[in-house]
């Protein structure tokens, strides 16, 4: 039997219309896709591993329990993919493009401030929420409703460091040395007002380029200035080299106040453990915190990965749990996930996460000192959440 030509065309049109009406190609996701941008190569790679390990640990725990139960009662596992953002902004852009091409529900990362600033437009255009890292205050001031941050902004990071220097160490003549990158510059920008609040003024301010090998000119200038403290901001390799050269130039008696890059275990090796003694850093998680949940997390992590944790680089463990919690409540619609992140109020294993008007999720932090081979808690502070 022959079909009339017109009936063939009609049936094709009906099929196409039916497919369009039923949302052809928009099937319910078979998994909760998460793309994690982290530096695994380049100067910032020293801590990329901790971010990935902590996130993977959470993914494994959730998937081992069968995954995330959605509002419709179905259960989905997390499909986690790591993407190298390298340690520069161009790499972060490429990494973000790759992450977006994976069509994740949520992006975790990038880690570096420069990377976030360079790539944030990409996830905004793709309408994918990103739980970033990074400490530069600028990263959440871009008016991007898809950017959230698991770190404390440098505008809070540095005041506690200065407060600790003044109240615990009676510092009066601080010197500053920072690297010329977005991350370190942001710390320097936050330093001057924080010091002014305590009637301090840097006796000298020195800068260096990333990948520099010799810092003797800057350190000798600091020595000449009779500084009684060094505020040091930079990435791990430079922090390690500067800490070691400080001792080599006979300046070991001048304590260093630094931030998260100095809490990465590889800094101890680069600087030499004996030169690292007395290092004061700011952190969102301190191994010196007696909270039993935190201590249990540290024990599990260190046993599983056979490595000492890097205090401020394991919080993406909670990022994954936050994603699981939100998807469990609102399902797999990215816009609903974004809205839930913007109203987040979640008690994680490592911290309390409350979203402020800029998308910053963390508002509690500590300072800690490296003493006799371990981190000891110095001061803690909780900042107000601006809604």
């Amino acid at each position: 039997m022959k079909l009339h030509k017109w009936s063939l065309w009609l049936s094709m049109v009906v099929c196409i219309a039916a497919l369009a009406l039923t949302g052809c190609g928009q099937d319910k996701p078979k998994s909760i896709k998460v793309a994690h941008l982290s530096p695994t190569t380049g100067g910032a790679s020293s801590y990329g591993m901790y971010m990935l390990n902590s996130a993977k640990m959470a993914v494994e725990e959730i998937n081992a329990k069968g995954g995330v139960k959605l509002p419709d009662g179905s259960q989905l596992k997390i499909e986690y993919t790591e993407v190298d953002e390298t340690s520069n902004s161009a790499g972060a852009i490429e990494g973000t493009k790759k992450a977006i091409s994976l069509e994740p529900l949520v992006i975790v990362g990038p880690n570096r401030s420069g990377g976030v600033l360079a790539a944030e437009k990409l996830w905004k255009e793709a309408k994918i929420p990103a739980i970033t890292d990074a400490t530069s205050a600028e990263t959440t001031k871009q008016g991007n409703p898809y950017t959230f941050r698991m770190q404390i902004s440098s505008q809070y990071w540095i005041p506690l460091l200065v407060k600790t220097a003044v109240e615990k160490y009676n510092i009066k003549r601080p010197a500053v040395i920072y690297g010329l990158n977005d991350y370190s510059k942001a710390n320097w920008v936050a330093t001057e007002p924080a010091m002014t609040k305590f009637n301090l003024k840097p006796v000298t301010v020195q800068t260096y380029n990333d990948n520099d090998q010799d810092f003797s000119a800057q350190l000798l200038e600091i020595k000449k200035s009779n500084a009684d403290a060094i505020f040091l901001y930079g990435y791990t390799p430079e922090v390690g080299k500067i800490t070691r050269q400080r001792s080599e130039l006979g300046m070991k008696n001048i304590p260093i106040f630094s931030e998260r890059a100095a809490s990465v275990p590889s800094v101890y090796d680069l600087a030499g453990k004996e030169n690292f003694e007395g290092m004061v850093v700011t952190t969102t998680l301190s191994p010196g915190d007696p909270d039993p949940k935190i201590q249990e997390f540290i024990k599990t992590y260190e046993t599983k990965f056979k490595q000492i944790i890097s205090s401020t680089h394991v919080n993406h463990y909670d990022s994954i749990y936050i994603i699981a919690d939100i998807v469990g409540k609102v399902g797999t619609d990215r816009e609903k996930i974004r809205e839930a992140l913007a109203k987040l109020d979640y008690k994680g294993v490592l911290a309390q996460y409350t979203a402020d008007k800029e998308g910053n999720l963390v508002h509690h932090m500590h300072t800690q000192v490296w003493k006799d081979g371990k981190w000891v808690l110095l001061m803690s502070e909780t900042y107000p959440v601006e809604k």
């Binding site: 695994t40 190569t41 380049g42 100067g43 790679s45 020293s46 990329g48 591993m49 010329l180 020195q206 800068t207 260096y208 380029n209 990948n211 520099d212 090998q213 010799d214 810092f215 003797s216 000119a217 800057q218 000798l220 200038e221 000449k224 791990t236 390799p237 390690g240 080299k241 070691r244 001792s247 080599e248 130039l249 006979g250 590889s266 090796d269 680069l270 030499g272 004996e274 030169n275």
Partner: protein, 295 residues
Amino acid sequence: MGFENLLQILIQGLNMGLIYALAALGISLIWSASGLFNFAQGDLMTVGGYVMLSTFAHWALPYPLAFALTVGIMGLAGYLLSRGYFFPMFSQGLHPDIIVIGTVSLTVLLHNSILLVWGPHAQRFGPPLGDAPIHIGRIIIMPYYVYNIVIVVALVALLQLFLKKTIIGIAMRAVAQRQVTASLMGVRVDQLVALTFLLATGLAAFAGVLIAPIIPLIPEMGGLVSLKAFAAVLIGGLGSFAGALVGGVIVGIAEVVFATVAVPTYKDVFIFAILVVFLLFRPRGIFSAEISEKV
């Protein structure tokens, strides 16, 4: 700037300069023998540092044994590299300018091999004489400064002796000066070029071993150092050992002095400005190595 400060700065500059000089020596040696600008020399140096990390820090071999093993492994790698990688290109009559691209490819290969074998993280092993500084009045000297100076000076002297007083050294110089003539005189050019690669890679291993306690090992380390080493080679005089040594020291001291008296963040700009001045007004460098003086 007081005298003591100036002296301290010069010591720091000399220390950095020796690092550049070590890398520059290998670059100069290969250029002399093969007319090839080996962009992978810095990465070979990095591999040398990592091999020492394995032999000394991971396998816990005694320092002299680990050092000798590292130089041996790297020398052999250089020989094999020459026979298996560069010589096929030479034997097909490729112009050295094209083979230079092969050295650039090699940098990518070596860099990624380091990432695979040793990972991306900064690592360091301690120097043989410890990390305790020596105080001479108010001047501070690290033991490895002295150690490095002794090793580098001894190395340059031995190399000069080898190249000028031994049959193989004289044959290498002959190949460096006129490959065709040397070949007509019965010299095995391929073997001699391979031997030059062996020597240059051994030198790279020396550099890597001596540098690693000063600059932490990262896969990118070679690239960072070799840029300055290339500047040192061109300032000192391409093809001259003395030029590589002096060029390295000039670059090291100039950058530290500039960083102290001017702006530290522009020290690289300053070094490459010096290089431009040399290229414009004395393109053959300080030692102006003529073809007859090569190596």
